[in-house]
Amino acid sequence: MSTTPVKFYQVGSFAVGNRLLPAAAGSVQSDMERTNALTSGHRACQGCGEALGARYAMDAAMRAANDKVIAVNATGCLEVFSTPYPESSWRIAWLHSLFGNAPAVATGVAAALRAKGRTEVRVIGQGGDGATVDIGFGPLSGMFERNDDVLYICYDNEAYMNTGVQRSGATPAAARTATTQAVGPEPGNVFGQGKNVPRIAMAHEIPYVATATVADLRDLEAKVARAMEFRGARYLHVLVPCPLGWGSQSCDTVKIARLATQSGLFPVFEAERGEVVSSTPIRQRVMVEEYLKLQGRYSHLFSPKRRDDVIDRLQAAADRNIKRYNLMPEEAGDL
């Protein structure tokens, strides 16, 4: 007789909640009493992945830190859409300074708290990819290097969205932005440039580095909670699709993030003190094309002429990630 233990639940832990699970085992987002750190009335575009990711991360941080959190925000969409004077969407202690100095300001807040003996209050620095990988990178590296007690979260939408979709050091190869037009023999952003900040963070051998997306809420929440167990510098890199900049449908935000992970283009993993300690296996593998074709920023790869050469290069990058982060452990032997 084939039997399976009764512990099986209809949607496992993939959905936000599960009425068959005890409340304590539910996600932060399924909780009617969640903080709603970033509440309604903000001016983010329809279907904004960054607004979603910020609420996910901050609500999880609030639960992990018993509601004692101060967030320092870099300039960028997240700051602009949440706090157009005189309104604010934040329901947490929140501080804005400049585009390039959020890590430094967060370091300062942490130092002040330490001086006041208020180390139960946890500090989070946050910003977009431009703020993180480009203009704020010096302060960020310094914050890592000094092992300041800050969790820094980068909401990566892969370009400078707030100022009109300019390329950043996190813009992927072949993507069209306002400054990497789809023209010439190699249209879109060039191959072989840009920065992989999670790996750069790991090179600083800080206590904790992780990646996540808005497609896997449980994983994102677990990583925020894990990060809060450490003291010192921690880095979380969250992929947040941007319907405007990526030329995707607003309803596809979560789906596109999911395809980014299931294609292998965006590896989801965590590292401690410079070593990868776990990665999230791909559950339903897709070819990169499935991910690319939902996005206007890659439309030049499909028309007027299909660019298999470019698609193949992107596929090769995904395949490399799959190997490098062991994203398909069952097939590892065959690779």
Partner: protein, 540 residues
Amino acid sequence: MEKPFAITLQVESSLANHTGSWRVERPQYVNLMPPCNNACPAGENVQKWLYTAEDGSYEEAWRALIVENPFPAIMGRVCYHPCQTVCSRGQLDEAVGINSVERFLGDLAIEKGWSIPVTAPSTGFKVLIIGAGPTGLSAAYHLRRMGHAVTIRDAADVAGGMMRFGIPKYRLPRNILNAEIARIEDMGVRFQLNHKVDNVQDAIDDGFDAVFLAVGAQIGKRAYIPAGEAARILDAVNVLHDVADGEAPLLGRKVVVYGGGNTAIDVARTAKRLGADEAMIVYRRTREKAPANDTEIQEAIEEGVLMKWLSTVKHADAGVLKIERMELDDKGFPQPTGEFEDLEADSLVLALGQEVDLSLVNNLPDVEVRDGVVHVDPNMMTGRAGIFAGGDMVPAERTVTTGVGHGKKAARNIDAWLRKEKFEKEPIPRVVEYSDLNPWYYTDAPHAVRPRLEGVRRASNFDEVVQGLDESTALYEARRCMSCGNCFECDNCFGVCPDNAVIKLGPGKGFEFNLDYCKGCGICVSECPSGSIIMIPEKS
């Protein structure tokens, strides 16, 4: 407002900004028709009772089920479960074992002795039902729940119809059948057994306000087969009836059954159990074309029943049959080939289908008979006002479940007719398609297969072949349901909204949209696993 030092912006002051005005489309929660419910001939709300069973509320689930069908324990054994054929989960891994969960609930109800109280006040109307097969019993049950006084007359000395005299007990144990019929009797339905009705008009004159005919199709079809005097030719329905009565018809060592339907399979399997060395089915077409349920063909083969496809019986003699080989033509029809062979057989059992005994409506000229069955209108009423009919005696698929569905439908229409009203069926919502679902969210979980008695061992006795699920496997199976088109409170919409515009009302209460802030992005629609949210255009 006065703000503390260094505080420039009031907390959550953005709530003043009603971003809902950006919207051109709005999300809306819906309840769609799950494919299973749509396919159930008895109209069961499968999704609803599975959902209820998922948290272990078995009695509540059973009560939700029996709103439509009084026989879950019987269904769980004999229904051909068309619900599972269309189950959406079949496209993900394997269909939900709806039928086995139904059986689990039915058996549990019997074990626990759950009864069905009649709470409706008495209407004062009296309804006569002729025939205590599944169709008549179902009508009686539903009419009784509505508060009518119900009498069932049946020619046999015990109720059940073909569920008792056709379906063998290795598929439907009699204690189960008896228990589910007894529950209907306990509701106050009057049974008049050994009461053959020859003339419906006389019965009406007994003072009934409406009559429901459900006499089934009892007469085995005869085919002309040239036969020697000593040939032993029997009729399948009679053989099964005798066995059900506890008699052992003389079939001999080698039995040939002629026909390709479920009755043929049941007779062949019964012959094996009665001790025949060899039971062989002869059918003029192929296995694929045989009307019998394939699982049952498979079970018969496992028990050692032999199959001779593409063959007809040309002549029967004592101990030997002449068989002609057939061939399918381009249209798939069997054509004779002129090739013959002899087959040893002590008896030939004909299982060529059943016909309706229409004598009881002979003197009701308004009741129209077409092609040997009684014609009814969409409300199950015959040409004679107040006389309704259903089940095997009207044109429809001949299954227990269809009969149960007819009984329910007839009951609703009889009720309306008695009250001089018209029964209005609620409009059926759109049927869920697989593309409405977001299967990503469902964990991979293949079907918990019901254990079966091992082939050779089971062929020698009348023990039940298919065993039930235990509690843990039944629960597991129920939880595989994807809740097509109906919210199951997974909280996805509440979680994925970037604008925090979904209000969670609490367990069991569902969700609401906060249209002051919903921008109409549609993420909630895309990420709802069960397809329970749709986008509709905003009125401009």
